[in-house]
């Protein structure tokens, strides 16, 4: 029996994980089912759009700015090994627009927004505000989840687009000031090399990441345990699960697009 204990533990973990996957899938399906059915909480939607989109701009901007700069230095250094230093503008552009822009935007918003959503909803659960919503004839999923999921799905592509521009600008600043690129040539190479599909695929990825970030925040908030520990665990789980799902879905979407 003792020899079987580790196997039993693996079995229990697997069953728990499968149960969670099923539960999240059901929650996503219920949320999607509510999106097109009234009532619509317009005020809550715009409030979420402001919080998720506008207030995330500084975090996303700073992250992509420094990443763009670092990317330019790395490509220059790596390219020098086979005399390909001149490809810095093109690789920075494609790297940021296809991958780093949407992924970094998703991860930063996961840290900032998913955690905040989970903490807010978990606290509402602990303080019986979710029960109060039900007694006031208001569906918590419709009132809390749907506006946040919609807002994040719409806001993330815009954030990623801003992140793309700032990230490329980071590469441009480093390229021109540190690596002696001609400013006009750097910009022309960037613009000429990028294709519409590069940009669109990145923005589609960002929309998917937005859906994931808000859904995970709401799911873990609604399913939190009791007390301060429950709120803390919900917050951690929201950030960890949304980050993992962003990276996993990024790979799947990349396979799909290219």
């Amino acid at each position: 029996m003792i020899a079987l204990a580790p196997l039993a533990a693996v079995g229990r973990s697997t069953l728990a994980m499968l149960g969670t996957i099923g539960s999240v899938a059901l929650y996503a399906a219920i949320t999607l089912g509510h999106i097109l059915r009234p009532p619509f909480y317009i005020r809550e939607f715009f409030s979420a759009l402001l919080t998720i989109g506008y207030f995330s701009l500084p975090v996303v901007g700073l992250t992509t700015l420094f990443t763009g700069g670092a990317l330019a230095l790395q490509i220059f250094s790596g390219g020098a090994r086979f005399n390909a230093e001149s490809v810095v503008p093109q690789i920075v552009a494609i790297g940021i627009v296809r991958e780093l822009g949407p992924v970094l935007t998703g991860l930063m918003v996961a840290g900032r927004v998913s955690a905040a959503i989970a903490a807010e909803i978990a606290t509402m659960k602990v303080t019986e505000q979710l029960d109060a919503l039900v007694t006031l004839s208001t569906n918590p999923i419709k009132y809390l989840t749907v506006p946040r999921v919609l807002a994040a799905t719409i806001a993330l592509p815009f954030l990623a687009a801003v992140g793309d521009i700032i990230g490329i600008m980071g590469g441009y600043l480093v390229g021109v000031t540190r690596l002696d690129f001609n400013a006009a040539v750097y910009l022309r190479n960037t613009v000429d090399f990028l294709e519409t599909a590069d940009v669109v695929s990145g923005l589609v990825k960002a929309a998917v990441f937005g859906f994931i970030v808000a859904l995970m925040g709401c799911y873990h908030g609604m399913n939190s345990g009791r007390g301060a520990q429950g709120v803390g665990r919900a917050t951690t789980n929201a950030v960890v699960s949304s980050s993992i799902l962003i990276l996993a879905s990024n790979y799947l979407l990349t396979e799909l697009f290219f």
Partner: protein, 248 residues
């Protein structure tokens, strides 16, 4: 009239309700008493559908609540939660008028605000409080706002979950009086759960004692002191010795 018939509910191995039978006549105030963790809140939440009973039937005016149309059913209820359960992101008047700003009872904003201010006045709060946020209020004021929200849509049935918990004795007395006045004036059916005996005497027409998952005793509040039930006697006199184990 609300009827609970043989209602059972367990959470894992913890059998909280073990066959609750209780009738609350329309227009009366029933107070359910019992120690902490005896299932008072679970019984109340079962009626509202916030907790699904494992078995048994709950009837509202003869209709099974599990089969009732949800929005119409909930529109008949108002509830004061133990901690107030006010929405932090909304102002006091938006909390009070929550039900009047959306759904089937939706009113124009100005009218909803006017009703909210009137309900705040009814519970002894000034109009200036309307634009504050819940975090800016004291515990007693939050309870009053919760009470104003519970009565804002003029419900037929009002539930009060531990209405005086966390309040000083004077504020508890004020809340008890307010509840009694409002229930009488609205002609509502009221169900209160508490372990505060001053609340029981101030609010109740009828009392039911929940112990070990069943209704141990029920009757008019006037009969409570002479019930002869050892469980009820121990509880209302707060004795450590008796059939109820002090350590649960």
């Amino acid at each position: 009239m609300i009827e609970l018939r043989d209602v059972h509910k367990a959470f894992g191995s913890n059998r909280v309700l073990r066959g609750v039978n209780l009738t609350i006549p329309g227009g009366t105030s029933m107070v359910i008493i019992g120690g902490s963790g005896t299932g008072k809140s679970v019984a109340l939440k079962s009626i509202l559908g916030l907790v699904k009973p494992d078995s048994g039937t709950i009837l509202l005016d003869g209709e099974d609540v599990a089969k009732a149309e949800r929005d119409a059913f909930l529109a008949r209820f108002g509830m004061l939660f133990q901690g107030g359960a006010l929405f932090d992101s909304l102002t006091v008047w938006q909390n009070v008028a929550f039900r009047l700003l959306r759904g089937s009872l939706k009113r124009p904003i100005e009218e909803a605000r006017a009703i909210a201010v009137e309900k705040l006045r009814r519970v002894g709060l000034k109009p200036e409080v309307a634009d504050l946020f819940p975090a800016e209020l004291s515990g007693g004021m939050q309870k009053r706002v919760g009470l104003a929200r519970a009565i804002a849509a003029e419900p037929e049935i009002i539930f009060f979950d531990e209405p005086t918990t966390g309040l000083d004795p004077i504020m508890a007395g004020v809340i008890n009086e307010l509840i009694r006045e409002i229930v009488t004036e609205m002609g509502a059916t009221a169900m209160t759960i508490t372990h505060d005996m001053s609340s029981v005497r101030a609010i109740a027409d009828h009392v039911a004692m929940l112990h070990d998952g069943v209704i141990q005793w029920t009757g008019p509040v006037a009969d409570m002191d002479a019930s002869g039930d050892p469980y009820l006697d121990q509880f209302i006199h707060g004795r450590a010795e008796g059939p109820i184990e002090a350590v649960r």
